[in-house]
């Protein structure tokens, strides 16, 4: 049965430019609404309304009982005098930028190597690198917490067994090492997926570009820099924006591994807002209003990541 037979007699397919909601027949419009309404209702109830309510709460003081008290922008101005908020802000930005840099450049390099140099190992390496990506960050967080354990952890014991006992560290309880240690885990989890995106992108690059470059005497590096990288601009824009968004809203990995410790050294907005609103550090008065203000900031930062993606994609498609 051809697809055209599914069209109602008398209704001609419309060109995209000429399509208009109001030109459709009423029954078709209703059918469209029928398909869209369920997801819209779900979206409004479980995404839209919570966002609106969180924005409202961010202008209030509320402990989860009684009525919220509207306090204007006090929660936002309070952030400037809160030393933990400053640490969380700095850590969030650094984490987002570092994960974006590492989780874009390293997967790109691996994808290029797998496409050109390590072709024989491509399937094995891709599979091995992709496995961490299918494990949830909660599971990998617990796993790496055990690996990093200063007392019984695999890493310190491995270092000791190969004669590098002096290199043993308190990976997650040393304020100077905790963020780099978490970054390694984030990279471990993300490199496979990002590598796969780049790998797929590279397969789509027209091979004649490389042939032409070779004829012109371009080196491998020049081919990478002047052919591969420009051809992957759209893909790169998507990877960058995904990494930025995941970096700004990071919570699960850090919460499981350190809960923001030691002494807030790995605190990010996600973990701080959680501890203010729900955690045991919230104490006798949960601060749902102040916590919501942080969630609004995270939302705005994610908005910035989306804007970055839009700008980069537009430039790439020019």
């Amino acid at each position: 049965m051809s697809t055209s037979s599914t069209l109602r007699a008398g209704v001609r397919p419309r060109s995209r430019s000429g399509a208009s909601l109001w030109k459709l027949q009423r029954s078709e419009r209703m059918a469209g609404y029928g398909f869209v309404v369920p997801i819209t209702v779900l979206f409004v109830l479980f995404v839209g309304w919570p966002i609106v309510f969180a924005v409202y709460l961010s202008f209030t003081r509320w402990s989860g009982f009684g009525s919220p008290t509207v306090i204007g922008v006090d929660n936002y101005t309070r952030m400037f005098s809160d030393p933990v908020a400053a640490t969380a802000f700095w850590n969030t930005i650094v984490f987002a930028l570092m994960t974006t840099l590492l989780q874009t450049v390293i997967p790109l390099i691996i994808a290029v190597l797998l496409s050109n140099v390590w072709r024989g190992l491509s399937v094995v390496v891709r599979t091995l690198l992709f496995i961490p990506g299918i494990i949830s960050f909660v599971v990998s967080g617990v796993l790496w917490k055990l690996i990093y354990d200063p007392n019984l952890g695999t890493l310190n014991n491995l270092l000791k067994s190969i004669g590098l006992g002096a290199w043993q560290q308190h990976w997650l309880s040393d304020p100077a090492l905790v963020m780099p240690s978490i970054l390694v885990v984030s990279l471990w989890g993300a490199v496979g997926m990002n590598m796969l995106i780049f790998f797929a992108g590279i397969q789509g690059v027209d091979p004649t570009y490389y042939e032409a470059a070779e004829v012109d005497g371009a080196s491998r590096w020049q081919q990478f820099w002047y052919v591969t990288v420009p051809s992957l601009r759209v893909v790169t824009a998507i990877v960058i924006s995904l990494n930025l968004m995941n970096g700004f809203k990071v919570f699960d990995l850090i919460y499981v591994m350190t809960a923001g410790g030691p002494n807030h050294a790995s605190e990010v907005f996600g973990t701080y807002l959680y501890s203010l609103a729900f955690g045991s550090t919230a104490g006798s008065i949960p601060q749902l209003g102040y916590g919501s203000a942080f969630s609004v900031i995270v939302m705005l930062l994610c908005g910035v990541a989306v804007l970055v993606q839009i700008v980069l994609s537009r430039r790439a498609s020019r």
Binding site: S27, M30, A31, G34, F35, V37, P38, V41, L42, L45, F46, R61, S63, G64, F65, G66, R78, S81, D82, V84, D149, P150, N151, L152, H170, L172, S173, D174, P175, V178, T258, A259, G261, P262, N263, H264, A265, Y274, S275, A277, F278, G279, S280, T281, A282, G283, S284, I285, P286, Q287, L288
Partner: protein, 441 residues
Amino acid sequence: MPSNRGTSFFADAAKTSITRRGLLKASGAGAAAIGLSSLLAACSSGGASSSGGKATVRMWSWYTEVKDTLPKVISDFEAKHPNIKIENRIFGTPDQYLPALTAAVSGGDVPEIFAPHVRAITYGEQGISADLKKELGSGFLKGFFDSTNQEYTKDGKQYALGFEAQTFGLFYDPDVLSAAGVDGEPETWDDLIDAAAKINATGKSAVSISCNPGTSALDFFLPLITQVTDDPTWYLKLDQLEKGYSYTSKPVVKALELNDKIVKAKVFQPGTTGTSGDQSQQLFYTGGAAMFFAGSWTPAGLIQNASPEFVKRYKIMKTPAIKSGARHWTADQAGAGLAVSETSKNKDAALTFLKYLYSEDVYSKLMNASSAMPSTQAAVERITDAHVKQMAGWLPDGCPHIPFGAGSSAAGDPLQKIFDQTASPAEVAKQMQSAVENAKG
């Protein structure tokens, strides 16, 4: 004849014409059902229910010590009270439990019986938890230790019952102390500092402790205020920020200086502010540390986690005193308590269960089977676990250490700077005052 069952479904479906009107009706009904069910879920004011004519009592806590033993008590109770059903839910840690409790309170659907954490008085004043003095009577409450009753009492009303009492002490491995040349139990902090130097020389940490989250650090620090003042009511007044009491007061600064001195002497393992409760316990029973500062819930944890040889071997000593001959003030109270929802329609059923739970025979058997420290005098007399019995004997030297006051928990954050040596005691005192005032709102 070969079966065509596999293909007939598709064939039948193809024959059935789907009319647009039918589709619209179905999708409209679907949307309405989803929306309505969501609205109903959102607007539901109470989960207290009756199933099959039974009153349901939900009981929420993070008290894992009784996870294997409480179900037996519940089934015995249900057999005697066929019209009441108990739904027991034990979360792993306070950090896993509190989000659920906060959400339940915000949604107006509080479990009939719940662990109030440090929010007992706040919830009581807001009308969320019931006044148990009124509901159960003073006679019932008389059997509990004063300290566990006081912590849940304000303005003559009591909003929770102590479930597990607690005192703190230093758990130690006598073999490790002997190997390091430490004879006997250190009596004072100075003695402990001397012992720590000997233990550190063997490549082990002297005392393992958890300061992550920061509130755990308060368990160690707040009793030092009582040691400095020799007045177990001093912290209670500070907790409520009564006039003349602040974190910049001399006793707090002196206590911070003592805490600072202990940390500087490398009494604790490196990275205390990044060490969680389970990690600090593990450091002790795996031989990484000679001693372990923790509360009376630890014997139950060690039975579950450590080797049987270690459980037989370890001992407990009192928290060191500020000077020789002084009282060994140590943190007490009941961190584990039980509150009752004021608004639940099954409140009476919840109270009936509590009366059963705290009946002398049932409660002491439960505490003994769980190696937990009871909150009632009668049950303490029937303790069978030697370690728990020893720690229960320290209750007369108990002092308050739980930050019930509005914003008091926030003092734990700046305190961590003493443990990681990033601020002086005077600076930390100022930051504690500021943090508590900010959190108080």
